[in-house]
Amino acid sequence: MLEGLLIGVENVFDFSSLAAIALGVLWGIIGGMIPGINATIAMALLLPFTWGMEPVNAILLLAGVYCGGEYGGSIPAILIGTPGTTAAAATTIDGYELHKQGKTGIALGTSLISSSFGGFLSALVLMFVAIPLASVALKFGPSEYFALAIAGLTLICSLGGRNVFKGLLAGAIGIFVATIGYDPMNGIPRYTFGSLHLADGFEMIALMMGLFAVSELLSQAQELSGDAEFNIVGEVDTRLPGWNVIKTFLPTSFFSSLMGVVIGAMPGVGASTACWVAYSETKRWSKDGDTFGKGNIKGVAAPEAANNAVTGGALVPLLALGIPGSNSTAIMLGALMIHNVQPGPLLFTRQPEIPYSIFISLLVANIFMLIMGYFIVKLAIKVTKISKPILFASIMTLVFTGSFAYSGETFSILVTIGFGLLGYLMKKFTIPYTATVLGFVLGFIMEANLRRALLISKGNWTEALFNSGISTTLIILAVLAFVGTTYQNLKKPVDIDTSVKA
């Protein structure tokens, strides 16, 4: 292994390789920042340029994009309340809240440091436990994936604040929305009303941009139309967090990173799920869990560490088994195959320069990300200086363009508007739309795996749900968390809110 690592170091610490990683990280951050463009799309756009490159450099370039893309999404999530990528959705909750409180520098700095930390840690984990971790990931069957989704869904209970029922309602709506489109088992269209646009269900990007961005913009439109000088953010503190702040979220970043690595290693479960699971678990185990959603930096650190830690984890099945676990790693597989590199267990013996260069490049990419991110954050903060009405119109247009860019259909814009209006109404009635997003993200995993598990168990629910120690433990933990949170919410003294404007 040491020999392999030395080959990796030799390959990476070469001008062309370092330049490829730096360019990749920069492109990834920019792509991630643009709503509608995620790490996968940013990688896909670069793929044609890798044909003429050395195989190692081509992979390093894509690895850089992958890291940068997962981080870039957090910048618009914090500054404009719009996640640049689906993996930054959970960051929006506390990140945007911190920005509204004027703690913009703290939020952006926390996201940058935590992302780099998560990515760096995952690269280290990948280096030492790629093959053993791959075997653990393979133990996850449909029952375990379903149980994991259920565990993630327990966050819904606390998202509703004082009224747990509203959180559950929003989550149930999200899960239902996830079932719209062709049935994954029978191929029957469900709730599509004959529309071909809905045959594949709603695009996650369009739904998230609607619920997060458009709903917020509509609220701003209401305020701005009354008073042109209205300012949603007061004085902005652009100072990045110092060590006294960093040390408060480092343990959160560490545990969230570990969660991200494990979730990333599971085929089909990516950064979008990891960010929610990390947010949920951090909130559950934090002493100041009540302040989540009100601008807690751990609410930024947890999802950001997790979604970047997914990068290392997702490469585990790709490199160790030759199975791409996500869209981004599928593109990497494509790039490897273009250069006649076949990933799998034999890769480590036949072409060790490839996997070991990737390991080292991930470490370097995360250091580059920290440096580049610092300057990009400084530039991005300038967004807060733009007049609010101009920002309102510009973001709305950017969101619609991003929505169209992702699918190439104007129907996506209509979906974005529809969910924006839904999110706006949910806000008015104090229903947490974040629970809808969570339900939507986990709904896919939940349904497909539950039905697969039932098919395997020939309809035996007990066998389907409690198939193994992993699934049983996860379900028991989820039930305990659900009962505990609901009980705590119901135990609070009943208050009567008479306000008309919710």
Partner: protein, 163 residues
């Protein structure tokens, strides 16, 4: 915990739940033969029942709150809210029109119009400023998406000249 207007959410939830179940019945009718024990409507139906139950709870909670209220909500406030919603309604309306005409008229024409309309809604009324911002922003977005990211944005009428 409950708000007096939760009954609106409750009623909408019950109607949504019933709608999902009714639609599910129609979907079930389409299945000819399947080995899938759960069926395509198992999860949506489960969600529908949860939504209905929560709807009932919310109506009950709102009833309890309304009973405890000494005064009914001020009607004038509701009228004010309707006036306030004007900007939201207009924003949605221009956005829908934009989405529907984008393909036919083209991005380079529709986007500055959308931006101008949105700026107008949020009280930016100086024509020269509106034009300047709308055109500049459209140019930036078009450059980034069409040239930088190679996204094929609809050109509409301009397809003949630029396509």
């Amino acid at each position: 915990m409950f708000k007096h207007n939760d009954y609106i959410v409750g009623i909408v939830s019950i109607l949504l739940g019933l709608f999902i179940i009714a639609q599910g019945e129609m979907i079930e009718g389409q299945i000819v033969m399947s080995i899938d024990p759960a069926g395509p409507t198992a999860l949506p139906d489960l969600m529908a029942y949860i939504i209905i139950i929560i709807g009932v709870v919310l109506i009950g909670g709102a009833w309890f709150v309304n009973k405890a209220l000494a005064e009914k909500p001020d009607k004038k406030k509701i009228q004010d809210m309707v006036i306030e919603y004007k900007a939201v309604i207009y924003s949605c309306l221009v956005s829908v029109i934009y989405a529907m005409l984008l393909e036919f008229v083209g991005y380079l024409i529709m986007t500055p119009i959308l931006m101008a309309a949105l700026l107008w809604i949020v009280q930016i009324r100086k024509i020269s400023k509106v034009i300047k911002i709308s055109v500049t922003m459209t140019a930036i977005l078009y450059t980034v998406f069409a040239f930088g990211l190679r996204v094929k944005l609809p050109l509409g009428f301009l397809e003949i000249f630029l396509g």
